[in-house]
Symmetry: C2
Subunit: 665 residues, 2 copies
C-alpha cells in the first residue's frame, strides 16, 4: 500500500496552463471545425474593438478568410487601434493568462487574457504554423512584425522572426493565422457574428472578405465613439470575506476608513466610519491587522449601512434603438406585428460588479407560430452564438410562465413556442461566463433574477398589446354582427308586416351605445401616417380628451389639422375632441417624419373625460399620464428594487419599479 | 496615440491561474450557494474514488456536512485510499493545475488537476478559513495533518500548521473545509449526487451525514473492485498536426518507426513502416527532424493505412445491469411499463482518445406523460447534475426525431415529451467537458454522433415494444368484437327464424382463422412467472416452433413442463409445439429465479414453421435467430461503423452495426 502512495506521488506534477488548454481546447470554444473558425474571428475582433475603445478611436476592422485546402484556412484580422508596443506583442498574442483587462473592473469584451493567444495556440496545434503579428504605434514610422508560436510546456511566447516593415496605416494591429476549420453559412456563422457585432457597435466599420471573395462592408451607422466606460472599484455588495481579507492585506491604505473609502465604490469617508463603528473595528486600525472576526463584522456592517446603488457610467447598455435594430436585423424581410418597447433595468450588483440587463421582444406578423421563440443573446455588446442551453438568459426565459403573456408553453416552463424573438443584453464590468469560451452567462442568482424581471416587464408590454388587439377584434366582431343582423331583421319584419324597411342608423346607435375609436399607423416614403378614427355610436353628442404618446417634434406641422391642447415632456400629447355628434365620425390625422420604420410601430392612444364603459378601442388614461412606458424624469423611488420584486408575480398589473426607465444623462 | 499604446502597455501583466479562477469561480462550479456545496462534495468524492481505484481498494467514503451559521457549512470528506505522501499533500490540495491524472490517457473521474484545490480556494475565499487535510500511508504509524491555504497571487500552497496525529485507519485521506453554501434537497442535491454515484459505483460504500444529522449509508452492492482501466497511448485517429510535431520533438525514440509504434496505440512496427513508406518519410529518420510537410504526410498516411479500433481495456462502461439500476433508482416507487434493453456501443475515438457511449431508456407506466422526458447523464461513472442544456448528450437527444419512436416532440426537434427517462453514459480516457466544472460534455462531433446512434438504437427497441403493444391491442379489439357480435347475430337470427341458437365456436374460428399467442410475465416472491398462451382459432390443428429469448439457466427446471428442443448461447430457447387442435388452447409456463425484477421485464417471443399471416400476437423469427439484441459472439464485421451510419436514418429496420453488442472478455 505504501509503495502505491509513493508510486502515485511520482506522477504528481505541475500542469502548464497552456498544456491544460491545449488538451481541453473545447473549453476555449474550439470543439468543432465550424466553431473553431468563428471563435478565432470573435476573439480577434473583440480584441480590436476593445483596443479602439480604450483609445477612443472609431474602429475600422478587416476580417479576411482564405481557404488553403480542405480543412485549412488563413484568417487575417486587422484594426486601426492604437497598436501594441513591441515589447508586449509576444506576450499579448502568445501567452495565456496575460493581459490588461483582467485586473480592472470595466465593461470590456475581453476580460480574461486568454482569447487571442488561444487562437494562436489552436492555429499551431492544428496546422503547425506560426502566427504573424504586425503592430504600429503612431510615434513610429514603421510597423513591428513578428512570427510567434506559444511554447505550451512553459506557456511563454517564442519569436521565430522579427522585422520592421512599412505599413500604410498610422497605427493599428493585424494578425494572421493558419488554422483547421470549416467555413459555413447559417445562424451560427462568421457572417452572423460580424453582422450582430456591427449592429450593437454602430460606431464600428467592419469589412469582411469571405473565402468566396466578395467583400461585405458593414458601414458605420454612427460617428460617435461611445462614451468611455470608466473602471470602478468593487461595490460592497456581494464581496466575499476572503476577498476583503486579501484586499486588506495588500492595501496601501494605513487606516481602515481610508482603505474602505478608497478601495470600494460608493463608500464615502462618512460611510466608512459608520461601517467601522457598526462593526466594532477601530477606524484608525491598520487594515493589515484586520482579523477574520473583524472582517466578518465589516461585511455584516456593510450590509446594514445604506449604500448607494452602483455608478452607471462604468456601464454602456445598448439602448432601445439598437435593441430594435438588432431584432429588425434578425427578422430580415419577415414582417412583424409588434415591437414591445424594450426594457432597460436599473444597475444591480453581483460579487461587487455592477451590471445592467436589457430586454426586447418582437412579436407576430410573419414570424413562425410553430417554432420555439428565437433567442438573441448579447454580453457587453458581443453576440453570443453557442451554448444557448447553458446560459442564464435561456434559463431565465425557461423559468417565466409565458402562457400568462400570450405565448404557448407546455406546462408553463421551458422555451415557449410562438411567433416571437426575445433579445437579452447583459452589460457588466465582469461577465461571469460559464467557461473561457465566453458563450454562456453562468447561473448567478442575482443576474438570473434581473433577467427574469426584465423579461416579465417586457412580456407585460407584449401582453398589453395582445389584450388590446383581442379587445378590439372582439368589439369589431360584435359591431359587425349588429350591423349585419339588424338590417336583416328589419327587412324580414318589414316584409311580414308589409311596410317599408325603416331607417336604422339611430337603432344601431342605440344598441351599440359606444364611442368607437380605431387607430392605425402606416409607413411609406419615410413617413408614418397616423390616423385615429372616432365614431360616435351613442344617441347624443360626445366630447372628451384624447391622449397619445408620440414624439411631438417629429410630427409634420403641415399634416396636423387639429392643434393639441397640451404637449408634455415632448411626447405626451393631449387633444381636446370638443364635439362629435351622434352617428358622426371624426378623424385625427398627422404624419411623422425622420423616424425609421421600427422606431414607431404602434400608436398609444388613451382618452379621459368620458365614461370608460362607453369607449371601445382604447383605454382610459390611467392616472395623470402615469403611464407604463413613458420616460419619467427626476429621481427614482429609492426602494424600487424591493417594489419590483414584490410585484413580479402579478400578471398584467404594472409593477412600477420594474418598468420605470430612468433618463440617462 | 503613441502615449496611449504605451499607457496601455503598462497595464499588461501576467494573471495567476488562481487569481483567474478566484475571479471566475463560476467556471469551476461555484456559481450559486447550493451548487457550491454540491461541487465541493463532488470534487472530494471523485478524488477519493479515483485514489481507491488506482490502488485497487474497495472504497469506503464518508461525507459529513455540518451547518455552522446561516450560510457557512463545514464539509468533512474521508476515504480509505492509499493516502498521499507528506511532501505532496500541499500541492495536491492547494495548488491549481497540479496532479497525476492530467498527463495520462486513462478513464478517471478527475483529469484536470483543479477540482479539490478549487474547493480549498473557494472555502478560503468565502470564509477566510484554512482547509485541514489528514493523510496516512500504510507504512507509517501516524497520519500527517496540516492546515492549508492557497496563495492565489502565486498559485502555491501555504502551510499554516503541520502535525503528526494518531488515526485509527490503516491508510486514507480526509479533508475538512468551511465554506459558504446552501444545503437543499431536490433533484440537484448532495444526496442525489451521492446516490447516483453509489449506483454506478456499486463497489463503493458511502456514508453520508447530512446537517440534520441522521446518517445515510449507501451499502456496497458488489465486493469486486472494477478491473483497473489501463492508461493508453493516443490512438492515431484525430491526432492534430501540431500535436504530432510536438510529440516528435520530445520523443526519446531515435527512429520514426519506433517513435510511431511506441507512442501511438494500435501502431505495430509493421504498420509504422507502412505509414512511413506511404508518407515518403525514411523509417530510419530521427523524429526530431520531422518537418511540417512530413508531419502532414504522416497524418495523411495514418488515415489511409488500416489501423485497428482502440483497445477496450482502457475503458470501463457501466453495463446493462447498472444502467437499469440507475433508471430504476430515478423511478423510485413509480412503476414503469418497459425497460428498453440498454445499448453499449463499440469504442470510437476522438482526438486520439477512445470512448464508449451507453444508453438506456425506461418508458410508460406511472411516468408523467405531460412533462419533458427526464435526462440522466453520467461521465466516467460520475453523475452530471448541472448544465444539462450545454451538454452534447442533451443536444443529441434534441436532434433525434422522437416522433418516429413513439414520443411527442413538437416539430421533430427539442427535448421530447412523454413518459420516459433517458440515460446516457460516456466513458473515455478523456472527457471533453465544456468547462472546468465538469458538468457538461462539449459538442465534439464524433461524440455527439455516437450518442445519437446509441439513442436511436435504443429508441428502436422502445418503438418495437410500442408497435408490438399496439398490434396486440388492435388484434384484441378485433377478437373481442367478433366474440361479442357473432353470438348476438346468431341469437337474433335464431329468434327470427324460430330455431335454437347454433353452436358458434367453429364459426368464430372460421372467421378469425388465426393462431392467437398471448404472453405475460409477472413477478412475485423473487420469481418471474412466465406464461405463453396459444389459442388455435383456425379450423385445423397447428404445429410450429416457438422461440424465446430467456436466460435458460435461470429457469426453475421444476416449473418447466415442456422441455425445449434446443438452447443456443444460453438464452435462445426453442420449443417444438407439436400439435394444438382447432379451437383448443395450449399453455407454455415456467418460472425464472435469481433475477431482480428489472432484469427481466418483457418476454421476447417468436414463432417459425407457420405462415406469418395466420399468427397474431408475436412475430415470426427474423432469419436464423439473427435477432436484434441477442449477444453475438465472435468477430464483428470490420466496417460495422460505416454500416451503422448508413442505416441510421431508417426507422424500425434494424441497423446491424449499431445494435450488435460484443461480449466483453
Amino acid at each position: 500500500m505504501a509503495s502505491i502512495a509513493h508510486e502515485l506521488a511520482k506522477n504528481q506534477k505541475e500542469i502548464s496552463v497552456s498544456e491544460f488548454f491545449e488538451k481541453n481546447k473545447q473549453i476555449l470554444g474550439f470543439d468543432s471545425l465550424t466553431r473553431a473558425l468563428i471563435t478565432s474571428v470573435k476573439e480577434t475582433v473583440d480584441n480590436s474593438l476593445d483596443a479602439c475603445e480604450d483609445a477612443s478611436i472609431l474602429p475600422e476592422i478587416l476580417v479576411k478568410i482564405e481557404k488553403m485546402d480542405n480543412t485549412e484556412y488563413k484568417l487575417t484580422e486587422e484594426d486601426n487601434g492604437p497598436g501594441i508596443v513591441k515589447a508586449q506583442v509576444p506576450n499579448v498574442f502568445a501567452r495565456l493568462l496575460y493581459g490588461s483587462r483582467f485586473h480592472t473592473r470595466a465593461q470590456r469584451r475581453g476580460q480574461q487574457g486568454i482569447g487571442v493567444s488561444a487562437v494562436v495556440m489552436y492555429s499551431q496545434l492544428t496546422t503547425g504554423k506560426a502566427a504573424t503579428v504586425r503592430s504600429k504605434i503612431s510615434d513610429e514610422d514603421t510597423a513591428y512584425e513578428c512570427d510567434l508560436i506559444l511554447d505550451t510546456k512553459k506557456n511563454r511566447p517564442e519569436r521565430l522572426r522579427e522585422d520592421r516593415v512599412i505599413w500604410d496605416r498610422e497605427h493599428g494591429t493585424s494578425i494572421q493565422v493558419h488554422l483547421k476549420g470549416k467555413y459555413m453559412g447559417g445562424k451560427q456563422s462568421v457572417f452572423e457574428y460580424l453582422k450582430g457585432t456591427a449592429i450593437v457597435n454602430p460606431h464600428a466599420k467592419i469589412t469582411f472578405v469571405p473565402p468566396e471573395g466578395v467583400p461585405i462592408v458593414f458601414e458605420r451607422a454612427s460617428d460617435q465613439v461611445p462614451p468611455p466606460t470608466k473602471p470602478v472599484m468593487p461595490h460592497p455588495e456581494g464581496v466575499e470575506l476572503g476577498e476583503l481579507l486579501s484586499m486588506a492585506k495588500y492595501t496601501e491604505s494605513l487606516k481602515m476608513t481610508s482603505f474602505l473609502s478608497s478601495e470600494f465604490s460608493r463608500i464615502s469617508n462618512r460611510v466608512a466610519k459608520e461601517v467601522c463603528e457598526l462593526a466594532g473595528v477601530p477606524p484608525e486600525q491598520r487594515p493589515t491587522k484586520l482579523t477574520l472576526e473583524q472582517a466578518g463584522a465589516v461585511l455584516e456592517a456593510m450590509k446594514k449601512v445604506r449604500i448607494m446603488a452602483p455608478e452607471t457610467d462604468c456601464l454602456s447598455p445598448i439602448g432601445e434603438t439598437l435593441i430594435r435594430k438588432g431584432l429588425k436585423n434578425v427578422l430580415g424581410d419577415v414582417k412583424a406585428e409588434f415591437y414591445a418597447p424594450p426594457i432597460t433595468r436599473e444597475p444591480k450588483v453581483f460579487a461587487g460588479n455592477p451590471f445592467i440587463v436589457e430586454v426586447g421582444i418582437v412579436y407576430g406578423g410573419e414570424l413562425s407560430k410553430e417554432e420555439p421563440v428565437q433567442i438573441l443573446r448579447f454580453a457587453n455588446r458581443v453576440p453570443l452564438m453557442y451554448q444557448q442551453g447553458a446560459c442564464a438568459t435561456t434559463q431565465a426565459i425557461e423559468n417565466v410562465d409565458w402562457r400568462r403573456y400570450g405565448l404557448e408553453q407546455r406546462g408553463g416552463h421551458g422555451i415557449p413556442f410562438g411567433p416571437a424573438i426575445i433579445m437579452v443584453h447583459l452589460a457588466s464590468t465582469k461577465i461571469p461566463f460559464t467557461s473561457e469560451s465566453k458563450e454562456a452567462v453562468a447561473n448567478i442568482p442575482e443576474i438570473k433574477e434581473e433577467i427574469e424581471l426584465a423579461l416579465k416587464a417586457c412580456a407585460r408590454r407584449l401582453k398589453t398589446h395582445l389584450n388590446k388587439a383581442e379587445k378590439k377584434s372582439k368589439a369589431k366582431v360584435k359591431f359587425e354582427i349588429v350591423q349585419d343582423i339588424i338590417p336583416m331583421i328589419a327587412e324580414k319584419s318589414a316584409k311580414i308586416v308589409g311596410k317599408p324597411v325603416p331607417e336604422l342608423s339611430g337603432t344601431i346607435t342605440k344598441i351599440m351605445n359606444v364611442v368607437w375609436i380605431d387607430d392605425e399607423v402606416s409607413y411609406e416614403k419615410k413617413r408614418h401616417h397616423v390616423l385615429v378614427r372616432i365614431y360616435n355610436y351613442t344617441p347624443k353628442s360626445q366630447g372628451f380628451h384624447l391622449h397619445m404618446v408620440v414624439p411631438f417634434d417629429k410630427i409634420d406641422p403641415k399634416s396636423l389639422e387639429l392643434q393639441p391642447l397640451e404637449v408634455r415632456d415632448g411626447n405626451k400629447v393631449t387633444w381636446d375632441i370638443k364635439r362629435v355628434s351622434s352617428t358622426e365620425e371624426f378623424q385625427l390625422k398627422f404624419d411623422l417624419t425622420g423616424l425609421s420604420q421600427e422606431e414607431y410601430g404602434e400608436n398609444e392612444v388613451y382618452v379621459s373625460g368620458i365614461d370608460a364603459a362607453s369607449v371601445i378601442g382604447v383605454d382610459v388614461l390611467p392616472g395623470d399620464w402615469d403611464l407604463e412606458h413613458l420616460k419619467i424624469t427626476g429621481e427614482l423611488p429609492v426602494d424600487e428594487g424591493a417594489a419590483a420584486e414584490e410585484g413580479e408575480e402579478e400578471d398584467v398589473d404594472y409593477d412600477e419599479g420594474a418598468e420605470v426607465i430612468k433618463d440617462e444623462e
